[in-house]
Symmetry: D4
Subunit: 217 residues, 8 copies
């Protein structure tokens, strides 16, 4: 079972291939970590790399990457820093942290500047209000929220910037798994809010990168 890497993808769609670690055997992860660290290789982003899996990798492979447990990501390095284009990552609650940070780490890997605004949920709408001006100085806004996901609508109604919304799977009862948040975001009364799959912080960063690419050439 060999992985046919699509090494030309960066040129074609502007986004290098990424290693989705969940379900991959330890040997594959180890090999990829070593290969991407070789001279001349493009550094890789590893996502959905759970702490227990990371700890089970050989020490030399672990040392080749920068691991971040909350976001479950590891970076073998970053792509060249882009000079223009800034992204705000705004999340509703502390439970949304893993997804918000997956987006932020992916942006870091892609060399895109960004700021995280956590705990901005609209059950306490003044929290968002106090940060709105700062958020609006960015070029793209990623909104991360679970449960009722009301933050996407309120923020979408307060900014002219592109809004990329990511529902999270946090919650219990009807919120469990993230369908309630996904449907609320897709049904948002704020026009032009576009949506990624549940917990897909990585995809939101890629969508933002496509937009930053369109903005900055």
């Amino acid at each position: 079972m060999d992985v046919l890497f699509d090494h030309c993808r960066t040129e074609r769609i502007g986004l290098p291939e990424t290693v989705f670690c969940q379900g991959k055997p330890l040997e594959t992860l180890t090999r990829l970590m070593r290969e991407q660290a070789a001279p001349g290789a493009t550094p890789l982003l590893f996502t959905r790399l759970f702490p227990d899996i990371f700890e089970a990798l050989p020490a030399d492979a672990r040392d080749l990457v920068d691991y971040h447990p909350l976001s479950k990501t590891a970076l073998g390095g970053t792509l060249p820093q882009r000079e223009r284009g800034r992204v705000a990552v705004v999340s509703a609650g502390t439970c949304d942290g893993p997804v918000a940070h997956e987006a932020a780490r992916t942006l870091a890997y892609l060399g895109i500047q960004h700021t995280i605004y956590e705990d901005s949920g609209v059950a306490g709408v003044w929290r968002l209000a106090s940060r709105l001006e700062a958020i609006n100085t960015h070029d793209v806004i990623i909104v991360v929220a679970g449960m009722d996901a009301a933050l996407a609508t309120v923020l979408g109604g307060l900014t002219p910037k592109p809004v990329v919304a990511v529902p999270t799977s946090v919650g219990y009862g009807v919120a469990e798994g993230g369908r309630a948040a996904l449907h609320a975001m897709l049904s948002s009364c704020a026009p032009g809010v576009c949506v990624l799959n549940i917990d897909n912080g990585y995809g939101a960063a890629c969508a933002a990168a496509r937009i930053i690419g369109a903005i900055c050439g």
Copy 2:
């Protein structure tokens, strides 16, 4: 197929029985309109009475009730006006009008004072802000919203009053039928928001009436 009316229900649970008209034959509706208008009878509330059905009833029966097409309700009269207890009915958009007015008409029938605040959706959060102080002078707040139903969370985070939320079935795609709004309300990050079935404006008014009864003895 005769209807066993529960004429003692008012004493027992404080809420008289109501005629849910959808699916009932014209003769039954006609008979009930005439009976409730008889001297000494308790006036009835008729809900889900669609305009084409109402128009098909005999003129004399129609004249015995006060019909309101938007809310699809007819009142044969109202119960005695309560001196205390006021309810705010706050809705998100004009599409939520039928449900908001069903709640309002039920409150009118029950003799409970109320105010309607329409078009308060939080995709434009300043609309709600300008009305918040007035809304908070009421004893119970009914929130009516479809689509993302974000209004329930924002308002629930801005008021200490009991909040009774009604999702509406307006919308298309994942919002169609009201499940998205229902789930968002049940998942609300604002604590203590309680929820009725989709489009159940009547039930929200009854829940408010139970609370007003508990407040005012």
Copy 3:
């Protein structure tokens, strides 16, 4: 990942912020337990604190709170006792205990008097009958039931008091996860029964507290 606590929430909505422990790291829980026990701080309620997590906390932090395994709650203290307003918590079966007691513990934390009536399910309707008079002396009734949730309808038809219903996730087959109970409660033939998310005993207590607040000023 820091938590922006909303320390003014009590004034604004009458309900202090609560710590939903599921998914939070041990360090955060430890810190919050210590902070809330500091002189002058508001005591906190911790919910969804599973026994294995509680046991893993440092002994000094554990000693600062009153832990209750069945309800998975810990209290750092309680808010001032309210002089008026009493809540009945009525549950259908022993399996509903965790949710019923989460509601009761939240009421205790909020300083609200309450009584629990367990094993009142209507597959044996005489159990409810024998307690009905006592239940009706309370100002608000919280109904906790899983499976068919028939208790909400039967009790809703026997009391004029506000009824706050909480479906539980107990059961197997189509009842598993609580959707069957949720839908039955939302479809209740008893008018004015309002509903919380599945297993949300905490939210039911907050809804009751909003009503008690409206009753008692």
Copy 4:
């Protein structure tokens, strides 16, 4: 498209074949009505025969059957009356009438004695209480209910007789289409309540007939 009738079915499973009319062309219905009325033929039961379809049939075919609009059934005659075995059909509300009467008409066709108890819903539990003794004199109990379907559980807890439950599709919001009632019945806390498909009054009568057959030989 010819119908291969299974004329030996009565001997094999004790239930003659029935004509489900919905979606069948008028010519087929007309032909079957004429054929079953021929000398020596077994009279047929026609179900789901909507009034507008029945009115569109030729007058001579219509005259060969006994049509009942509420239940949407037509009978070309009945099978020989059984001497023993009685079935109670208990329904929750007037909206459940079409399904309750489809069950009753099927029992009539099968020659089985039965009694209908309508408006026995447990939002007013005394209605059921006053009829319980009479209901318990029957050999099999068919329960017909929509919405929360709580009647099945309460009655199932009050009788030792076989209980055959039919959910109905009445209701709106989460109750629409009958899944809420179906799931509540399947999750019933009363042991041994067995369930038919939504709106399947015909099937409930067949299940009762199988039981009556087992009882009475």
Copy 5:
């Protein structure tokens, strides 16, 4: 959390109360095992008692019951043997064994004679054919099947006896959890097949017991 046992239930509905063990604490199970073994007490049936839980009980409690791991049931004894009435339990595949045997063990507890016919699935329809005559000598037939649940329809078309169908949760993909089997059974083209909740072998036995009771007085 005490259990209000309904000791008169046997007289009222003919079925003694049963202990659903899943989720109950070890102490409760231990106490109930000891209590039911006391002189004069009615022996109890324990269901959903997983082997690891059973092994964790004190040896003296374990010795008071007859445990059967496949069905996850324990019996403290059986009710008096009924002289008449026999039930066939027919299952489709070996994976349905736990549910088929839960039904059989419940029948044993209730003192009802029964025979199990396993591996009768209709992907090999001759297996059923060879047993049909023997099956049809019973008074009630319980059908247990997962996946496509086609056995219920084929058997329902070959017997005049009451057919009580139990879907099982075996399978993967769309069959996982048992909804596919449940819906196939509810949609059965064989008339009068009635259905229990997924994996509810206990309930099927209770339904059969109600029928046997009606047959045998």
Copy 6:
């Protein structure tokens, strides 16, 4: 809105493009009927052409095709008759006729020999038994069934031939729309039964044509 026809598709995948008529404007249908009848053009198959739409077309266009109301198909002609390869279309009940005949008409259009066996549902399993030998003389078997779709499993267990199963949307309650039949077919205990979308008789014929093509070169 012009249609880019893929006139080379026949060479590439062996199946000419087809006109799915539902939702297409009358003018488009008229134009396509006229174009395909032009000298040298490939005759087209029109599917989902409802009778009221067909009647609304101009008479000259209608005369250019062979219309079949039950299957809602029109043929402008047929492709050259294949000398080898025969398909059996086996359906469960008369309600499945529209889908079975859509498959048969598509086979006729594709020049493939076929036989239809209707009313072979396994609630009366002897109907299938009497036809089995004849069915097994064909090279491919298309099974069409709604409701419990048990026919697919029973037939799949009795034939070594390729089995292509089509669920139909007939039925009510949980069977309505065809999901129950679809899931039962996907969960079939007979190995190697493959499945098409609900009501997709056209697709089943195309799948059979691919197999016939592989068989006959």
Copy 7:
């Protein structure tokens, strides 16, 4: 029921408010058409304006707007033409036309240049290939597709531009209503494809407009 128009929205979020016509009374539509045509008023976009509703409006109101039946939109005029920023609208099949044209008409209203590429579905992947170069000259790509929605993934893998995907509700069986297409788009293997609600061509145009605004200042 008056509409509180949010006339400052253009400044705040760069998108003027739009009239969603479905469910609005004729008088409201008439009034809004007249008001927006008044001197100095911002011209409005009317969406989901079905032909039969449009035909029922007074002739003078109809004359004030440019109506387009396929997209069900009416424009009272357009906003000033933007000099930079071009959007490609790529759709899979002719059935997706209504949604693709709703997007295109909204872009026209917003003064944004755009090109439509219809019939680009990947069941014939060469159709897309021949247009790819032209599509990639645009700044934003809107993909409109129903059924399997495979176009979004294939195109997302061939372009570095922002991709805004809209599922459509065309199709039958599991595709009916658009959930299959929505889920396929959300699950796209091409990174950074973001998604709107089913049939929300208007929203896709707004999302594109937000991006064009970010690109062009």
Copy 8:
């Protein structure tokens, strides 16, 4: 609980019975492994045999089979090699490996020649393009894909061969469990793609074997 093996199945449907190991006790697996290795016995295929279960079997039983952990299959031997008929197994990504290899191992067991083409997902459509000619030399094509499953449509539009599609359960959010992939495959715009249950690589191989049998006699 004994297993009634259907030893004549090979003659009747051309496919020997297989052991689905998930949920079967270790003793049963051990016994079957030993029995099938006896002289004259037909070698068996064991599916869904998870590595931890395999490791727990006695060493002598393990030595009697050829185990393959990725596909979770064990073979006691293979059926006689077929001289004609070749199958291509084409999968989208490395995560689909377990299902693709379950199909391949089943084909090996059935004595059918096959080739695996992994990592052919259409988010990089050139990967498929470079292999298309080789794939088209086979007689049947099995497509294995999760997430958006777009590969089935693209390949189905590029080949005239029978296409048997298997959705996989890989993915998260709306893709989790494989319903998104299943629905996309069932909704495929490429005509005649037929579909198996989620993760049913075994079934796909059986479907291919039925076709190969029809081709090769």
